[in-house]
């Protein structure tokens, strides 16, 4: 079965890029997109995604609030916070809200490896640094 992603970001450009990056993996598909937290929670309930990629700063409730609402509904679903403001403090808050990992938008490169690691033990590309050579070639 393919892994189904819910993408949440108020920027259409970011959603589009995420789509391109994630869909490069034939086992992954985007089941839904939302531009704000409230409607993301609704989609989450409706679509039962396997992974959520979540922006932090959005109109209405922020990513952390959105994540804690989602974790109350289905705590097992991994949520990745995708933000321009990655910092240790934000990570701490994010973890408290049930977020599994925080990925910097400005160095989005390790994200794919992180998600693979989140999804299964066979994937070992956790936090693969930012260097081009160290990440698995998903097109294979």
């Amino acid at each position: 079965m393919r892994t189904r992603f819910l993408i949440v970001d108020d920027s259409e450009l970011v959603r589009k890029s995420l789509r391109t990056v994630l869909q490069a993996n034939p086992d992954w598909e985007i089941c839904g997109e939302a531009a704000d937290g409230e409607s993301a929670v609704e989609l989450f309930k409706e679509l039962h995604p396997n992974v959520v990629i979540l922006d932090f700063q959005m109109p209405g409730i922020n990513g952390i609030e959105t994540a804690s609402r989602m974790s109350q509904i289905a705590p097992a679903v991994p949520i990745v916070l995708f933000t321009q403001h990655a910092s240790p403090d934000l990570e701490r808050h994010a973890r408290e809200a049930g977020i599994r990992s925080v990925v910097s938008k400005t160095n989005a490169f390790p994200m794919v490896g992180m998600i693979e690691a989140l999804l299964g033990p066979t994937n070992t590309e956790w936090g693969a640094g930012g260097s081009a050579g160290s990440t698995k070639d998903l097109a294979d």
Binding site: L13, S17, K105, F109
Partner: protein, 365 residues
């Protein structure tokens, strides 16, 4: 007097005839003249109206002029009232000294020369009017500067938000595209792979610089997760940029505060650290934010630098510096009903801001 604002002049004498004489002399000043027949009546007027000048007879039955002056001066609200004594008997220099010590500003003996009395009262009436105008202007300036600070905060918040919303997604998209390309390095020649690698670094620089600008304008975590994480993050960024070692001690029980308090405290810390970097020469800084009393927060920023320059030995007093930083901090704190204290010596500077907060903060054990 034309359109000038009238001031109140209180004339106190137990003899109605004399009050009429003063009235006739002072009428042409165009001010509002109030008559009182006794010290007690005078006090009643003083309590009810804003009096600019009190003209009074020294010798009156019951409460004499000196006693009345004493009573007037004891009241803080009346400290600035001009008191002019009129005395029928000749006073010695000692008597005059006595009068001045009781807060008289002038003294006239009889027979009263109308022009002289008029001139003296006019001076004090004008002074009162000008003082009042200055107080009003000062209050307007305070209001204006508070509004300017708030507008500045709002504007910075907006620009930071715009940066985040417009440039942020572009950088994210670039970064992701580069990531996609990087997965294809096997298919690229070495040179192209090298250019790609450089592009990655450029995107990272672009993002880092945008981030710094945006964070200095408005801390992103402030609104979303609160003051303490925002200060921590700012201090980390500051330490990295300035190579000043920053220790931060924040009491977690403070929690979230009203937005205007959070932004003001953040700006105080930001200005203080900027000063440490620009002026102190210190290699270290220490920030402490903790509850001082149940509903009072203290924000402390210390350095081990060379201290403030001692101009007139009053570096710590208001108005003694021309920088915007410290004055801005003072204005912010005044708005919040707080205070700012500066201790500075050649061993370093400590800025302590006390901020009242509207919720009890229980110290955790």
């Amino acid at each position: 007097m034309g359109d000038q604002e009238q001031v109140n002049i209180l004339m106190v004498d137990d003899q109605p005839g004399k009050l009429l004489t003063y009235e006739a002399i002072l009428n042409e000043l165009g001010e509002n003249l109030i008559k009182a027949r006794s010290g007690k009546e005078a006090l009643d007027h003083l309590l009810r109206t804003d009096i600019a000048v009190v003209l009074m007879d020294v010798s009156m039955p019951e409460l004499d002029g000196f006693e009345l002056a004493d009573m007037i001066r004891q009241h803080p609200r009346f400290q600035k009232i001009a008191i002019i004594f009129i005395s029928a008997v000749h006073l010695t220099d000692l008597d005059r000294l006595n009068a001045y010590q009781r807060g008289a500003v002038d003294y006239i003996s009889v027979p009263v020369v109308p022009e002289l009395l008029r001139a003296k009262v006019r001076v004090f009436a004008d002074l009162h009017r000008k003082t009042h105008q200055l107080e009003m202007l000062n209050r307007d300036l305070r209001t204006l500067s508070a509004r300017l600070l708030a507008t500045q905060d709002e504007e910075r918040r907006r620009i930071a938000r715009d940066l985040h919303d417009s440039i942020g997604p572009l950088i994210a998209a670039l970064s992701m595209n580069n990531g996609m390309l990087a997965q294809q390095t096997k298919k690229l020649g070495a040179e192209v792979a090298e250019v790609l690698q450089q592009n990655n670094q450029l995107v990272e620089q672009l993002s880092k610089q945008t981030r710094t600008i945006s964070h200095l304008l408005h801390p992103p975590l402030l609104d979303e997760i609160g003051l303490l994480p925002a200060i921590k993050m700012f201090a980390e960024g500051f330490a990295e940029r300035s190579s000043v070692k920053v220790d931060v001690e924040l009491s977690p029980e403070i929690g979230r505060l009203p937005p205007n308090v959070e932004i003001s405290v953040f700006r105080v810390v930001q200005e203080c650290l900027t000063n440490v970097y620009r002026h102190s020469g210190s290699k270290t800084a220490y920030i402490k934010i903790a509850p001082a009393q149940e509903k009072l927060l203290t924000v402390q920023v210390c350095d081990e630098g060379k201290g403030m320059p001692r101009t007139n030995g009053a570096a710590a007093s208001p108005g003694s510096n021309h920088g915007v930083g410290l004055s801005g901090m003072r204005e912010r704190l005044r708005e919040l009903g707080g205070t700012l204290e500066i201790k500075s010596s050649d061993k370093g500077t400590t800025v302590i801001a006390a901020v009242p907060v509207n919720k009890p903060m229980v110290k955790s054990v």
